[in-house]
Symmetry: C2
Subunit: 108 residues, 2 copies
Amino acid sequence: MQVINPEWTTTEEAIAKKAFDIAYKREIDSLMDSVRSKVNSLAEIDDIWDLHDFLSVKRHEIDGRYDYRLPMIIFVFAGLVKDGWLNITELEGLNANKIAKIVALAHM
Amino acid sequence: MQVINPEWTTTEEAIAKKAFDIAYKREIDSLMDSVRSKVNSLAEIDDIWDLHDFLSVKRHEIDGRYDYRLPMIIFVFAGLVKDGWLNITELEGLNANKIAKIVALAHM
């Protein structure tokens, strides 16, 4: 198996990228559903400003979370597993050491 | 007629407060319609961030605009007339000097 990163095989990279994309799509789809739901029950101006606050927080979280760089991806995956955007089984194929690190970090 | 402010009669104050509230409700209703329309055509993540940017601008505008203090209300009304949230006829009953100032400022 070709190694292009000292710690990541090309197979692992493909698994990582796919898992990253799945989690991102999952979180974005959830965000869109939340926005639609909030707007469906829009009744007064405070609901608009609550929506604005909600989007400010989500934008900050999502911008900070989805940083696809292999040296940091273990931490990204740990956060995604912890917050429920990724299931650890979706990382199957990464070596056992990486999985163990992600699980440990996700429980912190 | 009772005068509680050296320049504003109680009748004028009532007219000003009513016009202020009308413009506010009109702008908020319009904002809610815009948000509903944007969310109806939500397709991708950039649409969410565009909505967030839009709400940031509107919140800043609306927070800055609706300042009900009589000494400044001439300027507030001029801005509302200029931007189409208030019709000058909705200020009928203010004295001619105030109306003239509002019209002049609205054309600046």
